[in-house]
Every structure is written in C-alpha cells, then in structure tokens.
C-alpha cells in the first residue's frame, strides 16, 4: 500500500485497503475556523430543530479552533461572528482556540504546522478547502463541508472513498531563484484545476527530500487548486527535526510499502524549473514569469497560508533589502510566531525601509474579505493560492499568482519581474 492507503487502513482498523474502497475512519484531529465554525453551528441548529439533543461533542481535546478569515474585525457583523465562535468553543469545552490579540494566532493551516497541531500518520479534517496543506507533515489531511465537520464533531468518525494517488517525483534540487510555489504552479498548469479531482497528490524524489518542510507545505497547500482530495509527503528526518523544534517527538509515522502503487507517476527535473506565474482567472493559467514582463501592476501582496511562512518572508527580504517598492505592497505574516521570527531576524526593518506595510496575520485580502482588497480594474501580484474572478476584491480586478521572490521583485519594478532580471 502507499502511504495514504496505509493511514486510512490503520484508521479504519483494516489490514489493507484499495482505491475506491469506502472506509469509516477514526479521526485524530478536527479544525474549524471563523467561517466553518458558524457553518457547523447552523447545522447543529438544524439538527436541534429536528429534536436532536446536542449538548456535547465527541472529544473537545481533539478539536481546535482558529480565527483567521475575518480578524481583525472590519465591521460589526465580523465582530459578532467571533463572539459566536467563542461562545461555541466555551459551550463545548474546546480549549485550543487561537484567539486574535491573545498571543499565538494566525491562519489555520499555518498554525497546524507551527503549533504541531497535527502529527505524522494522523487523520486530520478541517472545515476549509486548504486543509490539504497539513499533509506535508505525513498525515492524511482533507477539507470537509460543514455538515461533514458537524458529523465528525459528534461522532469522531467520517467515511472516505480511498483516493487514487498521483505521485509527483521531483528529481534534484530547485535552482535558487525558483521556489516550491513555482513548482506547484507548473504542476497545476500541466494537469489542470481538476487534474487531481478526488485523488491524492503525493510529492517525493530527491527534489522534495532536499526541500524544507515549509516548501513542502506550499506544494500540498495548492493541491486543492488541482482539485485533490489530499496532498502528502512521506515523513523523513527533516520533518522529525521540524517537529522536535516544536517540542514534539512522539508520534506514529506511516511509511509506504516497497510495492506501493500509484495511479500515475509524473516526473519533473528540479534544475529545469523556472519562475512561473498564473494569470487571471485560474491557477492553471500558467506561463513563465519572463513572458509577462510587460504587465504593469497596482499592488503586490505577500500573505496567506500559501505564501507568508517564514521562508517566504525571508525570500521577499532577500529581494527587498536596500530597495524601495514602486507599487503598494503589503506583507502579512501567516502567524504570530512567524511575525516574531521575522522581527527577530530583522526582516521587518528591511520591509519597512522598502516602504512596505506589514500587517497582522489574517486571510484578509487573499479571500477578498478585508485588509487591502482590490478595486475595479486593479492588478495585483500575489503569493496566495487562487485568482478566480473577484477572489481578492472587485469582480473585475485581476490577480497574478506567483512565488514570494517574483512578488517581491515585481514590487520593486512595478511590473511582473523574474527575480533574475532585477538589477
């Protein structure tokens, strides 16, 4: 069995499973945030109206809560939303609620790894489509709708159809001017936004073992944009070191068998990769960054669970050091722990010296909610994950998706810029 099949077999108490089998699995961790939390509350309300008594959930210790989409509250209804979420966690005795303005908080998918909320070999589900991100920690991680999350909160179980696995084998290290973001955009451009529908995307090969855990998280994060059920990377020493640095050393890793099967294997040569940009209005709309050097921009955005981890900020700082931005530029670290490290490493000074606004962790403008959304006809280069119409603001604004290196280089020139071409 491959790693995904083995995790699902173990979690369902079976010795073996195959693609298309329906399995009921025991869930290890569940996450809700300030969009799915209220969604789950609405489902609970519906069930109560039908006469169901809901006064407790399955296991409050295995549930954690993030505030990310609508913090800081931009209006009264957002503020009320957070109050509702807080009442929900109090009512059901959920202790792990990362609250805005109270120490560590941030984007749910970033907290999942920064706080080691999910461990290798676990089954993790969340009320958000980018839950796939956490598969880079060697876990089965998948997003669910509100009814499914409500079901898991009540029962601790969920059924899955065992997905087929597409294996992406990356041979050799990526060049210095190329990031994991470029690679995943390239892959999505090749297979399309439904190229991995209902499937798992597994990443391996020497290119992936050479990569940091944060880079791997960028790959699994955007498996969602290829329609994947989940994304996964097999655990290795780098992952163990990453988790040990967060105080976690005990977990039950799952490794694939020597005869593991995949539906298909795709191979990429790391050294041949180039900076890639996805044009509006789809993540599959990819071209090499150099082909877009005439595109003039209004804004650069470095944020989100995809593109505001520590190494993303370090990459941006490498470009912005000693430079001044030519367009409106915002950098929003994805969690407070990353914000602090950026401060300790002097990155914030580099950003501010360059004229950039540095803001608090939030999904903010990535999902077009608040904190710097786009006006009609504005054009943005962004380290985020989606560029559908209206994603970051007005339905007639445009978003180009890129790596932090490309976004920072473009901020300096005001046009889409390959970092190699920055003088």
């Amino acid at each position: 069995m491959n790693i995904t099949e083995k995790i699902l077999a173990r979690a369902s108490g079976k010795t073996s499973v195959s693609p298309d089998d329906v399995v009921f699995v025991n869930v290890d961790k569940v996450m809700v945030h300030d969009v799915s939390g209220p969604g789950v509350m609405a489902v609970f309300e519906k069930l109560r109206k039908k006469g169901m008594i809901i006064d407790k959930i399955w296991d409050p210790e295995r549930v954690w809560v993030a505030e990310d989409h609508f913090v800081p509250a931009a209006d009264k209804i957002s503020a009320q939303n957070i109050v509702s979420l807080t009442n929900f966690t109090k009512q059901f005795g959920i202790k792990k609620h990362f609250k805005y303005g109270m120490g560590q908080y941030g984007i749910c998918h970033t907290l999942s790894h920064e706080e080691a909320m999910v461990l290798p070999g676990e089954v993790y589900v969340g009320g958000d489509s980018h839950t796939n991100t956490t598969g880079a920690l060697g876990a089965f991680a998948a997003g669910l709708g509100h009814t499914d999350v409500a079901y898991v909160l009540l029962n601790g179980k969920i059924w899955f159809k065992v997905p087929e696995t597409l294996f992406f084998k990356i041979n050799g290290k990526l060049p210095d001017h190329v990031m994991a973001k470029d690679l995943i955009l390239k892959i999505i451009g090749d297979i399309g936004t439904d190229g991995a529908a209902y499937k798992t995307m597994q990443f391996g090969g020497t290119g992936v073992s050479e990569m940091s855990v944060e880079s791997r998280l960028t790959l699994t994060n955007m498996t969602t944009e290829a329609g994947a059920k989940s994304g996964i990377v097999e655990p290795d020493q780098k992952l163990r070191d990453y988790l040990a640095a967060r105080g976690v050393t005990k977990y039950d890793e799952v490794h694939e068998d020597s005869d593991a099967q995949y539906e298909k294997i795709y191979e990429y040569e790391g050294s041949e990769m180039e900076p890639i940009v996805a044009k509006p209005f789809s993540p599959e709309n990819t071209v090499v960054a150099r082909d877009l050097s005439s595109v003039e921009l209004d804004k650069a955005y470095i944020g989100s669970c995809t593109g505001a981890k520590l190494e993303d900020l370090q990459a941006a700082a490498k470009i912005l050091k000693g430079k001044t931005v030519k367009i409106r530029t915002e950098i929003l670290p994805a969690a407070m722990s990353i914000f602090r490290k950026a401060m300790d490493q002097g990155l914030l000074k580099i950003f501010m010296d360059a004229g950039v606004v540095v803001g608090p962790p939030t999904c903010g403008a990535c999902c077009g909610a608040h904190m710097g959304v786009l006006a009609k006809d504005e054009i943005c280069i962004s380290t985020t994950n989606r560029n559908f119409p209206g994603r970051m603001g007005h339905v007639e604004s445009q978003t180009y998706l890129a790596s932090p290196l490309v976004a920072a280089a473009s901020a300096v020139t005001g046009k889409i810029t390959d970092p190699r071409d920055l003088k």
Binding site: E45, K50, G390
Partner: protein, 189 residues
C-alpha cells in the same frame, strides 16, 4: 429533506468554467449563522450591480425564473469548501446541477442538502445547453430526458438512497455506517 424523485424544468445555462464557491456565494455573506435565506445571495456579484439586477446575467432572465436545474461548465464549485454555496443553490430553488465535473467537497456537500449533482460528457452537456424546452431528471431510473436526448448518469448507490428517501445524511450515517460500507461494496462497479 424533501425526497427527490423526478424533476422537470427549464434548465438555466450558466456558461462559465471554474465557477468557484466565492462566486456562488460571495464571502461577505458568510458571517451569518443561520442555514436558510442564502438564495438571495446566490451569484450575487454577477447578479447585481450596485444592488440592481444586471440584465445580462442569466438568472435575471425571466425565461428561467422557475428553473430547478442549473447547467454549468467544467469544475463547478471549486475553491473554498463553504457549504453555504449549496445552501444558496437549494434556497434559490435549484435541485439539480449538471456539469462535466465538480469540485470534490462541493459535490459531497450537495447530497447533504438534497441537491443532485450530475456529471455528463462534454457532448451531452453541449446538447443540453442548446435545448430551450424542459429537461426531465429521473433519479429512480438515473436518466436525463430532453428534446431528442435520453442519457443515463452515474450516482453512488447510498447517495441515491439518501436523496430518494429524503434522508438526512447526518442521521443516516449516525445509525447505519456499517450498512453504507456494505451497500457501496455490493453495488461496486
């Protein structure tokens, strides 16, 4: 949920690919904790301009006012996992969405809310887009009938049972998980 048997209706043609859930229900309407009333926000940014219905958007065409079937293009329901997207379609009156492909989470969310998503080939979808008369969707026989067309569609057996009987997925799975696994196994193609 209302049992789903047969739906006969004019189909609303939404001729766009990669329609993501943010277009189905824009994020500004997610901060509500009730489950009902989302129909008024369905495709809001396409449907309205400064609060006034846009004449060029298909939902505002009176010909489709009572439509229960939505025709969509590839990868419908991609993007955010928000279940509000299905709540809005259902609340507006759509009980069937026909496309060549759907995003995974959206597809699953449909069944939990009494909406039937149907995958068809490119050819069939193209034909359905060109038909102006009513289309009949029969879940029992898993067939679509329209002017000059009769095709069958696939649906996982337990989803069919849930829709036909109007069962609530959460209630069903609470009681009958082993049954679902058996049911799927016995009907595996």
């Amino acid at each position: 949920m209302e049992p789903f048997k047969k739906i006969k209706s004019i189909a609303t043609p939404l001729d766009k690919v990669n329609v993501d859930t943010d277009q189905i229900v824009p994020k500004q309407f997610l901060k509500l904790i009730q489950r009902t009333g989302f129909g008024q926000y369905l495709f809001y940014d396409w449907r309205y301009e400064k609060g006034t219905p846009r004449k060029d958007f298909v939902l505002n065409d009176p010909a489709y006012a009572n439509s229960k079937i939505l025709l969509a293009r590839d990868n419908f329901g991609c993007g955010s996992s928000r279940e509000h997207a299905v709540w809005a379609l259902d609340d507006y009156g759509f009980r069937v969405v026909i496309s060549t492909s759907f995003a995974d989470i959206f597809y699953n969310n449909c069944f939990k809310n009494g909406v039937l998503p149907i995958r068809v080939s490119d050819d069939i979808l193209q034909k359905l887009f060109s038909i102006k008369s009513e289309i009949e969707v029969d879940l029992e026989t898993q067939s679509i009938k329209a002017d000059g067309i009769q095709v069958s569609f696939h649906i996982e057996p337990h989803w069919k049972k849930i829709l036909l009987e109007g069962l609530d997925d959460i209630a069903v799975t609470l009681l009958h998980e082993s049954e679902i696994v058996r049911y799927e196994k016995s009907h595996k193609t």
